[in-house]
Symmetry: none
Subunit: 203 residues, 4 copies
């Protein structure tokens, strides 16, 4: 006899998911463990049973993204071919990842802008991409100066990430929902245009 139609997902996973949601919605500090437990429909003490503290819970949430991030970008990282192709591939992979993990950019920017405490965790998540871009651009750009790879890392990642974090703020000024499929496709096209424009200019 089936106990329940909804096959009660693993409890720890449900808490993690709830933490991800709540922290993503209101930020780490404003997210209370009680909120998270309520969202996960578990007893508050159980959160501490599985994850020992609130900071550790955050760590585990980020760890999950770190892994997902790495997996999502693996193919693009491994891809060979022209620099142009590789950049376009990566841009697509990155957009795909965020489209599938809508809370990720907000979480990252929240932690980045919430004091030094969480910077180490964030670095871990950003470093692979930073290093990939540095390697990919390689000889195409100078090692230092205003066209150095690191400048492009900030510009590119800002162009992607900020689109998502600012979306809800811009919704009013925008003609339409910036997170609709149509708008996302438009943004993606803009980013690809930007990649091409930069590469043409560097050539």
């Amino acid at each position: 006899m089936a106990r329940s139609m909804a096959p009660k997902q693993d409890t720890a996973a449900r808490i993690l998911e709830a933490a991800d949601e709540v922290i993503g919605e209101v930020g780490y500090d404003a997210a209370s463990v009680a909120d998270i437990a309520a969202r996960a429909q578990v007893n508050k003490a159980l959160v501490f049973y599985y994850f020992n503290s609130k900071p550790e819970l955050l760590e585990r949430v980020l760890e999950r993204y770190y892994t997902a991030h790495a997996e999502a970008l693996a193919a693009a990282v491994a891809s060979t071919g022209s620099l142009r192709d590789r950049l376009h591939n990566m841009m697509d992979a990155y957009m795909d990842f965020i489209a599938a993990n809508r809370r990720y950019p907000r979480l990252v920017q929240h932690l980045v802008s919430s004091g030094d405490v969480h910077h180490v965790l964030i670095q871990r998540n950003l470093r692979p991409l930073f290093e990939w871009i540095t390697n990919a651009l390689g000889d195409a750009v100078p090692a230092s100066g205003h066209l150095a790879a690191r400048q492009f890392f900030v510009t590119f990642s800002g162009a992607v990430i900020n689109y998502f974090t600012y979306a809800p703020v811009l919704e009013n000024m925008w003609g339409e929902d910036p997170l609709s499929d149509h708008s996302l496709a438009e943004r993606r096209a803009h980013l690809h245009w930007m990649v091409d424009t930069f590469l043409d200019a560097l050539a």
Copy 2:
């Protein structure tokens, strides 16, 4: 009998400045009114005497930036001449403003990524710039699609703002301090290069 010749800075202003600092350092939620009062060296109750609540205090902090922002950009907004000149002017004005208000980008991104509660306040601060770019680009870009003004707004503002917010996180991977005068000049050059590259491509 005059207690002091040096006219002790206006109390409300000192509280506002302290609020700006503390919130900028640890974020709105983690900043306690007690911390702010201590930083301003005033009694905790006095914070509520001048600003009625913590949210209102935040409003006033943002309002101060709104004004400063408007003033700082006024000349660039009013400037006439070629589109190229006007964009370069604005970019410089924006960088100057942030260089003089280092806590501003972090505060904005913190609030953007801390839940819908604060979005209205942020919108007020961003809208003027959004409208200026839309007007300035005018006929140079299509009204919609991946080259619409709004796309450039996100790309430009992200390229400026994220540089500052990610600076402390990137410091390790960076060769040097991203907020040194030298690094800032490099970033400024990168942004100008980006403006020129975009305009050339649009032509």
Copy 3:
């Protein structure tokens, strides 16, 4: 117009008194700040407003005893005359002090037997008496060995303090209430007999 007949004792003092009572009754660990606040008829948060933490509250309770202890013994400490007289004086002073501070012995023994955490606080309270006995006995006893002053310190202080802490436990086996005036007088006579007996033997 008189606000109240009961002249509402200073709040901090009321909390301190309540802490003393509650901790004295059930021990430090079992005494909750909520209990203490309730006993003092104040808001729980107020306990932290005046004393910053539970450990600090305990410190202040002990500090109060340290002072009272010192004052109560001052005359006996200062007294000159024969060793015999001085010891009898001190014994009386000590009994008087404890009779007036009935919770003191239980508190001390509780902290002594509750792990190393509190030993420093206790040492501070015991040291003066230890040093006084060492000095007072002086040449009357050898510097080391089974008749050294330190041996008498333990024997004397145990004979006084244990009487009070064991009183409630012994009540059943005892013929009468060990804390009645009559019983206390009997104990006091026993202690003086002990002093005389020891001195005679040492002579």
Copy 4:
């Protein structure tokens, strides 16, 4: 197939031993069942399986001491001969018992000074000794007054027990470790001297 030849110590006994240790170290209230289970290397729920509650666990710990106590003192209790010999015998037996059960005095004093809740348990442990002394002293002392047997019970037991409980506190003021073999021998000599002195005086 036998998992182990060395018949792993009975689980319940291991829990009891762990409870003894942990409670002896930090006191009953500060000792958590989780700590005890961890120390015994068993599952927390198992503690409740064998001992139904935390108070019952304490009871069993004390019961163990009651038995050990009785056994250790049995010979001295049964011994015949002069009062002087019997008292010296008992003093030695008591010191031997505590030297072999170092946590016992701290536990007893902790419970004595931790509220009335535990007094019944303690009485059970103390009564045999109380009655033995009363009987042993018999006609040598008056039935009541400051030389009654009960006075000597408190003085003797305090002189023994307090030495052990105050040892860690006194270590600083002491010239050496009060629990070293040498120091313990010294204390023992002091106690025997005290017995002789008292008997001589009573004669």
